[in-house]
Structures are given as C-alpha cells and as structure tokens.
Point group: C2
Chain length 343, copies 2
C-alpha cells in the first residue's frame, strides 16, 4: 500500500518533468470535499469553535490555532512547536492555510485526510495533551452551547470524536487563499507580477522546482485524497549542509512505515503563502526564504543558483501570498455558571 503510493509519486514525477512549465494552475476558489463529509455552514461554524477553543487541550492553554495561527501564516513560525507544559515537538508546524489541497497530511503523510489528522493533536501528549477523546467529549457535553452546535451540524446527541474531527476538517476547507498575484497573473492579468517576479517564475520552472512543486498548490500533482506525493529529502548528499541543518536526522516516512525504501521521504509541501511561514523545512532549521531556496536547488536538483536566480525565485514566491478570507471570531460556549474543570 505505501509502496504503491510511492510509485505513483515517482511515476508522476518522471512524466511531469518536461511538460509542467506550461501547466501553471490557479488555486481553485473552493477546496475538494470528501463524499462522507460535505461542507455545511453549521459544520464550519462548529469546526471554527473547536479549532479556536483552548479547552480542547489538557491545561486549557492551547488550541489548534496556537500552532496554526490563522491570523497570520497558519502556523507558529517556530522550528519546534510549543505544546502543553512548554514541551517542544521535533517537527515544525506546517501551515493550515490550503491544507485542504494536500492529498495527505503531516510531513510524512501519515494521515490520509483532514478528518484523520484532526484527531491526532488533541491527545498527543506533547501537543494538546488530553488523556483521551472520551475526556474531550465529556468536556464538550458539559457545555450547552456545544450540545446546540453539534445538533445543528450533525443532529441531536451527536457529540463525538468523529464528528468533532469532521467539523474541524470542514472549517479547514474554508481556509484557502486564492487570488494571489500569481493567480491573477495566470488568470491573464500580466501586471499582477512584477518583472522580477515573472522572471523568477520562469526560473522556478527552468531550474526544475516545478518538477516537484507543481499543481495549483505547488505541492505536486492533484491526487486523490489519501494518496501522497513523496520525495526524498535531501535527494543529494551534502556534508556541509547536513552539518549545519541536520535534515537527515528525521527518517521521514520510514519512521511511520518501518520500510527502508521510505527512508527520508517527505511529502512535497505547498509553497502558497511561503513568505509568511518561516522557518522552513520539516525541522524548521532554516530561518529565511532565500536560504531555503538555495538549499532546495542544491539538495534536490544539485544546482548552485546565481544570486540573481535565487533573488528572482524569492520574489516569485512572494507572489504566492494569497487573499485571506475575513473570519469572524467564534463565540465559545460556557460551562453553565461553573469554572473550567482543569485547574
């Protein structure tokens, strides 16, 4: 199963190398939805409440938004996220913006859908630290406001881990950022990118970035949900860069599958809003975008970019910052006249 996925990725990569440059795609205005969880306003509203509610974490300090802040780039701009009790995680939080366009979730793609992903962090001991989803469900059931919001989204008596995850995923599917300068340019407005940005776009294609970062989200070809597009990182050995950034310490997909063929395979991440999501890479060790671009060229394509080339590509990548939808803060339900139980 995992092998098949890898093969799909590899085949597509080979096929795409020559043709991709012509296939610039704008970001759709709507994210794909799975058949068993159509997006509805009531689900989105509930999902927004859950996503922003710190009471889904053990000590009530962290919400999803703590590590994936939708008020800016959709992550926390850290190398390792800070979980409950100030614990540090080993991977950098990816942006939640446009995660709806990922065919798999996490750096190693171990979650096949947003729904599957959403159940993880809540009970992860170094993230939100709840002992179990039963405990989360008990907390939610104690709040009449959540009873009502679940009823509106899923019918009466529907508070459950599965429905919470469905609602969060529905909210995430609204977190998309179309209409970047790049999208306008591709749509025909040739003034939307500066001259340097347009040049950078061409360079991005010419040097081969687009062989991996293709498709509307620059995270590879559009694949069915659950099917990942993985690549080896670093693809080329480089002692100096390894000494500086330690990229190979993380086994990537192999840590999940225990399959040697999966060593250092990572999902190709989106480049949308990349200017807002420093630091870069799975371990967040690279502080700025220009370094990240040079490192990619060296490690993935074995190329040394000129100063002009890397500056142009950075300028282009800045043109991938989209329009962020206005989001009204949710009203979060109260325990009826009672304090938060986790003291």
């Amino acid at each position: 199963m995992f092998k098949t996925k890898l093969l799909i990725g590899t085949v597509l990569l080979a096929a795409s190398l020559g043709t991709m440059a012509a296939e610039w795609q704008a970001l759709p205005g709507k994210a794909p939805e799975p058949a068993d969880n159509p997006t509805t306003p009531a689900k989105v509203e509930l999902g927004k409440m859950l996503y922003h509610d710190t009471r889904l974490s053990a000590n009530g300090v962290l919400s999803c938004n703590s590590c994936h802040n939708v008020m800016n780039g959709g992550e926390d701009n850290r190398s390792g996220s800070i979980g409950v009790k100030d614990q540090r995680g080993g991977r950098s939080a990816p942006t939640v913006w446009n995660s709806a366009f990922n065919s798999v979730q996490f750096w190693d793609g171990r979650a096949p859908s947003l729904e599957a992903q959403a159940k993880g962090p809540v009970t992860n001991p170094i993230e939100m630290g709840m002992k179990s989803w039963d405990d989360v469900v008990a907390r939610l059931k104690a709040m009449p406001g959540y009873q009502a919001a679940f009823t509106a989204a899923f019918g009466p008596d529907s508070i459950s881990a599965d429905n919470a995850a469905k609602a969060i995923a529905a909210y995430e599917r609204t977190l998309i950022t179309p209409n970047s300068p790049y999208d306008k340019y591709v749509g025909g407005d040739k003034s939307a990118l500066t001259e340097q940005q347009a040049r950078g776009m061409q360079t991005f294609a010419d040097v081969g970035c687009v062989s991996c970062h293709s498709g509307p989200a620059f995270n590879g070809p559009t694949l069915p949900e659950g099917t990942g597009f993985y690549q080896k990182f670093p693809a080329n050995d480089n002692g100096a860069l390894e000494a500086m950034y330690n990229f190979s310490a993380d086994l990537g997909r192999q840590a999940e599958t225990k399959n040697a063929a999966d060593a250092h395979l990572f999902k190709v991440p989106t480049l949308r809003n990349i200017a807002l999501t420093a630091p870069y890479f799975h371990n967040g060790k690279v502080q700025n975008l220009e370094d990240a671009v040079k490192i990619m060229a060296k490690l993935q394509l074995n190329k040394d970019l000129t100063a002009e080339q890397s500056a142009d590509i950075v300028a282009f990548l800045n043109g991938l910052t989209g329009e962020f939808p206005k989001i009204e803060m949710p009203r979060l339900p109260a325990y009826a006249n009672k304090a938060f139980p986790a003291e």
Copy 2:
C-alpha cells in the same frame, strides 16, 4: 491620595444605601474615553492586533486574549492564570468585557486607567514575561505591517510602549456588552426578564447587594477615571468560610499602598456577564455562582439567604449577560520572510 479615594468610596456608599434601588441603569452603548486618547478606527484595529498577538510574550505563546478570552466571558475561567512557562499567578483574571466602565483597573485598583494597565502584563515575569518594553518595541519595529498600523493610528515612526498601550485601551473600549435582558427590561421591555429574574432583581436590591454593586456596570457609582470604589472583603469575619476559601490571605489594596487602612480593600467588580466568568472572587476559589451569591450575602451583608432568594438572585444575574459584538479576527503582520526571533 489613596486615603482620599477611599473616602470618596465610603461617602458614596453611605449616601447610596437608601436610594439606589430606584436607580437601575442600562449600560451605555459607548464607553467613556479619556481626552488624551480618543477612540479612532485605526487605533482600535491596531489595538486588536496587539491584543491578539502572542508575539508580545517572551515565548510567543500568550497574548492578552489567553487570559482574557473575548471569544467567551473575557477571562480564562481559572483561579490562577497560567503565564509563560506554565507559571501560575496568585489572582484570578477579571473579565476584559466592560472593563472600560471600571474607574480603576486590577482587583486592588492599582492602575488608574486602561492605558496604564495595558503596559503591566507584557513585562510581568509570570504573565507575558518580556524583559522590557524596549524588546517589545524592537519586535514590533521588525514587522512592516506594524509600522503601517502604528502610522495609521498615530502618525509616522510612532511605535512605542505608550502608543501600544493607547491602542490596546482603544480596542478594549469597544469590548462592551449592552442590551442584556436586564438592559431591555430597564428600557421598558418588561418581558425581557422572567418572573423569577424580576423577583431576583428586587431581592438583589432589598438585601443590599446594590449598595456596592450599583451603577450601569454593577461595579459602584460612576466615578472619574482613576478614582476607585473600594470595599473591604470580607467585611465580616467568618471562620468557616475563611477556612474554606482563604479570602483574607490577600491584603488587597494594602499590598500596593502599604497603608494599614487599606487592608483587604478590593475594587467592587462588575457583575455584567457574571454567568460566564466562573470561578469567582480575587482568588477564584469559588466555583459556581450560587455559592458566590451566598458568600457575598454572608460576608458583606451578614445575611443568610433562603434557597429561594439565592436562586432568584442567580436567575437575575444570568440576565446580565449582554450582547457580544461580532469581532473580525485581525490579520497579524509577518516578519518579512523570517522566523519568529524567540526560539
């Protein structure tokens, strides 16, 4: 100076005891503004950004909103707030909703205005833990988006602690909740309160709550900003309650003024939205509203309420939950292509 304030409080208390019951006041639709900081849309927008920006705390995890969550009751529903590095504070966070109607800030009234208050938590080592406001200003200056927002609010090159505090205070002055059932009732809509709530309102006046919790915000008479309305708490000794709740451990205003006459003086807090702000009192030791009401009657008025009386008062207090304005999430500026400096 502090003595004068105390006297003002005491005089007004005596004067008000007989007449207050007739003076039910609705919450104004607009909060008072100091002459040197008129509220403008640009200040409010900037203040909202700062209020919700976790990068105003040392480790980038906490914002004002962490302890004063405007998505619910405006506080954190804890006895002691959780600051940076999981440190616990000794007092419970009061609600930020309608704090614009407090003539002084903090349980002991030690800040004379919202502007003065707003500078405190950022550099408080157990709250947001920044070493200095200079460090905060340096962080803000590194973000072009903040340069622009300060310019819009205060003119060019205006990033400073004072202006940050002014902007936060301007935002807080928009955090008001008029049109509660009580306000509608007082405005003439006699169906806005239930029969029990209307009875509770009368009981609230008759037993004497209103001698302290008077005025539109139920936090005492309307006084000039900087002039506090303080009361002794507990006003009457009670060994059993003291053993349970330890209210006397906190010296209140005396800890600030070092004046023995200020021992155990606390600002009379607002009762607006009180159903959403459990636990209760300066140390947050009381978990539910009914207990809080009985304790107040016993300790402040030396009265034992009947079960009916306390239930009626609780019902009335539930009628003080107002209408919460819709708030759009701010867009928070990014460091240009760079990671958050506090790693």
